[in-house]
């Protein structure tokens, strides 16, 4: 049939699957034979972005390594909801030690595999944003510096959700958490603090750094695939909305991740050896309000006693991201990308 000649496939690559695409162009997630690295029955909240992000990333890594994969997990939601003894949701080899040492344990596992001559077995370290940007930061930086052969994945839900929604260094400004109450002149989390870990990782000049969201599955899977094509330290930062901590409806998880990218608040890009090589352009530009209003952690910014000045500062952050990464290319440039 003429399917090969026609360059248009109804949902293109936006949806999870597409019967009109060739099997090679479909996602791992569209296959009934995907690993389901994290199984049903886990105790994540309704609409958990992290459970979704972990399955997306690990299933893709399983495909990329022909199933020769080992995961090391830091303490956090992902660990707690997946392994209340004696149950486990993991269908891959999986290790948990402490909150702060996951990168170091992953380094050790990779070294053990090297010693055993099992270069085919690849290692993934994973943690939430607390375990990555705060508690595990030292060991992670060491793992980067030594260029150990580990892909470290951070599932960023912007706070310590498992322990009751406390602020982390990945919590965005103005967001309410249990430790950044909505009081004073600058309610919620302060501006000007926190860590941008993808950029810190890039500063280590490691082979591969990328960001992704649970809203763009094709992109996320391609980045895992790409990461697995390198040896050495690699870092993937996945944006995973948290209905509990953000005060959003459980069905909005993917929509929120999409809006974070489309507003420019969460830039999606990839970098090799410290240099940005690719960005995901904004497809349907949206003001930050559209994203903020769906979350109760920003509720104090709206309504009669709202703070449009703070909303404007958040818009400023989005605009700065758009400028820094070139997220809004000229229309004709966009068109030529789509033709590729």
């Amino acid at each position: 049939m003429s399917e090969q000649r026609v360059h248009f496939y109804q949902v293109g690559s936006f949806a999870v699957g597409n019967r009109l695409l060739s099997a090679d162009d479909r996602t791992v997630q569209s296959s009934p034979h995907r690993t389901n690295s994290i199984d049903s029955g886990h105790r994540a909240c309704q609409g958990c972005g992290e459970a979704l992000g972990a399955r997306y990333a690990l299933d893709a890594a399983m495909r990329a390594t022909n199933g020769q994969l080992l995961a090391v997990n830091a303490t956090g939601c992902l660990e707690v909801f997946s392994t209340p003894y004696p149950e486990t949701s993991w269908r891959i080899p999986w290790l948990h030690s402490l909150f702060g040492n996951a990168p170091a344990v992953a380094t050790g596992v990779a070294a053990a595999m090297r010693v055993k001559g099992r270069s085919d077995v690849r290692v993934v370290g994973q943690a939430g944003d607390g375990g990555t940007v705060d508690i595990g930061f030292g060991t992670l930086s060491g793992m980067f510096e030594r260029n150990d052969d580990v892909l470290f994945i951070c599932y960023d839900n912007e706070g310590y959700m498992n322990t009751g929604v406390q602020r982390s260094a990945a919590t965005p400004p103005a967001a309410r958490t249990a430790t950044t109450d909505v009081v004073g002149a600058e309610p919620g989390n302060v501006f000007g603090q926190g860590k941008d870990l993808p950029r810190i990782a890039m500063a280590h000049d490691i082979p591969y750094v990328a960001t992704a969201t649970v809203a763009d599955l094709h992109d996320l899977e391609q980045k895992v695939e790409r990461a697995m094509s390198f040896r050495g330290a690699r870092y993937l930062h996945v944006f995973v909305p948290c209905p509990l901590g953000w005060g959003s409806a459980s069905n909005e998880t993917i929509h929120l991740a999409r809006l974070a990218k489309e507003t420019g608040l969460f830039p999606v890009f990839e970098a090799e050896y410290g240099v940005v090589t690719n960005v995901s352009p904004i497809r349907r530009p949206a003001p930050v309000e559209e994203y903020l209003k769906l979350q109760r952690r920003y509720a104090h910014l709206f309504g009669p006693k709202g703070r449009p000045d703070i909303v404007a500062r958040l818009q400023g952050i989005a605009d700065a991201n758009i400028a820094r990464y070139g997220l809004l290319p000229e229309r004709d440039e966009l068109d030529s990308r789509e033709d590729d």
Binding site: S2, V6, A15, Q29, N36, R43, G47, R55, Y85, R284
Partner: protein, 541 residues
């Protein structure tokens, strides 16, 4: 049991933990009625046949199409496609070119000689269909599929009714018309041409018919009393188009004025232009906004050099001079006379002021109710006389070919139920798939493919078809623009976005099902379903 060092308990899978018990709402798969299907007067399952066409399954698409409408190549040309006006894609970019794909399928079927399914097993019932226009042909087709014997009679020399005698060849080439009619007749139909039915009761009794379908159309051009000199040439548009179709066009001269604002007026003016009229002028009493003709036909006519005198009525016609009275619209939008007159040179005047139905064949029957010049019918098109059905222009309708096709189908179902002594029960209609239920993010950006138009200069001198067809590539592209509103097209989104792996993929063509043991009821699948084919319903607790 031997355990590794320091391990004292067995490890179990989390699948023992049935998180489905957390749920207060459950997702369920639904099928909703796509707006195109809802708008189609012929009741086509448009979304259904586009789905087949999307993967290049043109024969399957055509077969699905002709389940409801046996005339796709014709309708792909002459239908005014209310489906496209209703299409949700208009909210994304532009409506899907459904009509163009329908035509492509119809033409492809003719090219490949695809034939209809075998007629149903003979029921022994005999049905008389009076009138071989779109309603009569459609009824004949469906009745044959049901296994009834059909005698199709028509007063003209050829089959087709207004498709042949009302629609000019530049909109509907005769080869296409003949091919689609022949395919119906090949199902085994007794055809009687040049036969006018004078008394329906006599005809029914003598032929021993179990039921009758009246699809006599509206063949009589309405006349108004316009004072005209003896030498003035006045003709009604229906007769004019009929004579042209018979290849015996009347001599109208070089300056032809058409009076009226419907599609027939435009057909007459455009036909006059092709027959050599240098001036083809339409006189219409209201303005362009109020014109009943379809906008695209107006556009094409103006492009061919037809001109329009808006807000004018014809007062009188005396030797090559037409006196027009100017009108203005009052506050309610009705035209009012102004008392101002102007003149227009004209060789002939064509009246396109609407059409009446010749129902003299019903005069002997006291039961059939006629109101406003049309036969009153039930939803299954039956009149007050048992076994006598009516449809098309002879019944209350919008008087388009597509409505007539739909009437034919409904009448066939009504007749089938009647001759079996049953009541026809129509199935429940699904809830409408409105645009607000869609998640349009997922659809790739793709503007509509327009069909090529014949160069204007060539349209002024011949009856070549004005609107071209789509190539296969274009038709496939256009089919794939369908959003599949309200009907699962197996994009795997629900399967992929469930954080609890609670969606089971059943394999191509079998869609999905929920595993309620683990579904927590988060609703992401509903939110992220592109086409709105899942909904949340409260859980009984």
């Amino acid at each position: 049991m031997e355990r590794p060092f320091a391990i004292t308990l067995d490890v179990g899978t989390s699948r023992a933990n049935h998180t489905g018990s957390w749920r207060v709402e459950r997702p369920v798969y639904v099928d909703r009625l796509p707006p195109c299907n809802n708008a189609c007067p012929a009741g086509e399952n448009i979304q259904g046949w586009l789905y087949e066409a999307e993967s290049g399954g043109y024969e399957a698409a055509w077969r699905k199409l002709v389940e409801n409408n046996p005339l796709p190549a014709i309708m792909g040309r002459v239908c005014f496609h209310p489906c496209e006006s209703a299409c949700n894609r208009a909210e994304v970019d532009e409506a899907v070119g459904i009509n163009a794909v329908e035509r492509f399928l119809g033409d492809t079927a003719i090219e490949h000689g695809w034939s209809f399914p075998e007629p149903g097993a003979d029921t022994g019932k005999r049905i008389l269909v009076v009138g071989a226009g779109p309603a009569g042909l459609s009824a004949t087709y469906h009745l044959r599929l049901m296994g009834h014997q059909v005698r199709l009679v028509d007063a003209s020399a050829k089959l087709g009714g207004m498709l042949r005698y009302g629609i000019p060849a530049y909109r509907l080439p005769r080869a296409i018309l003949d091919a689609e009619i022949a395919r119906i007749i090949d199902m085994g139909v007794e055809v009687v041409l040049n036969h006018t039915v004078h008394d329906i009761d006599v005809e029914r009794r003598e032929g021993e018919f179990d039921a009758v379908f009246l699809a006599v159309g509206a063949q009589l051009g309405k006349r108004v009393n316009i004072p005209a000199g003896d030498s003035s040439k006045v003709i009604d548009a229906v007769s004019f188009l009929h004579q042209v179709a018979d290849e015996d066009p009347p001599m109208l001269g070089r300056r032809v004025v058409v009076y009226g604002g419907g599609d027939t007026a435009l057909d007459a003016a455009r036909t006059a232009r092709r027959l050599g009229a240098t001036d083809a002028v339409i006189v219409y009493r209201r303005n362009r906004d109020k014109m009943p003709a379809h906008a695209e036909e107006v556009e094409q006519a103006l492009g061919e050099g037809v001109t329009v005198r808006w807000l004018s009525t014809v007062d009188r016609f005396e030797s090559e001079r037409l006196v027009l009275e100017k009108m203005r619209l009052n506050a309610d939008g009705f035209p009012e006379a102004t008392g101002e007159y102007e003149e227009l040179d004209a060789d002939s005047l064509v009246l396109a002021l609407g059409q009446d139905t010749d129902l003299s064949l019903l005069e002997g029957n006291a039961n059939v109710e006629v109101n406003d010049g049309v036969v009153q019918v039930t939803p299954t098109m039956m009149t007050n006389e048992g076994g006598v059905f009516a449809g098309g222009d002879a019944a209350p309708s919008d008087r388009t070919a597509t409505v007539a096709v739909g009437h034919g189908k409904r009448a066939a179902r009504g007749i089938d139920a009647y001759v079996r002594g049953e009541e026809f029960a129509s199935g429940d209609r699904h809830e409408l798939a409105t645009a607000d239920r869609l998640n349009t993010w997922y659809y790739a950006d793709a503007p509509r493919t327009e069909r090529p138009e014949l160069e204007r200069i060539r349209r002024q001198t011949n009856f070549e078809e004005v609107i071209g067809g789509l190539t296969e590539e274009n038709a496939l592209f256009e089919a794939r623009r369908c959003l599949s509103c309200g009907n699962c097209f197996e994009c795997d989104n629900c399967f992929g976005v469930c954080p609890d792996n609670a969606v089971v993929k059943l394999g191509a063509g079998h869609r999905y099902e929920f595993n309620y043991d683990f579904c927590k009821g988060c609703g992401i699948c509903v939110r992220e379903c592109p086409c709105g084919a899942i909904e949340m319903v409260p859980e009984r607790i």
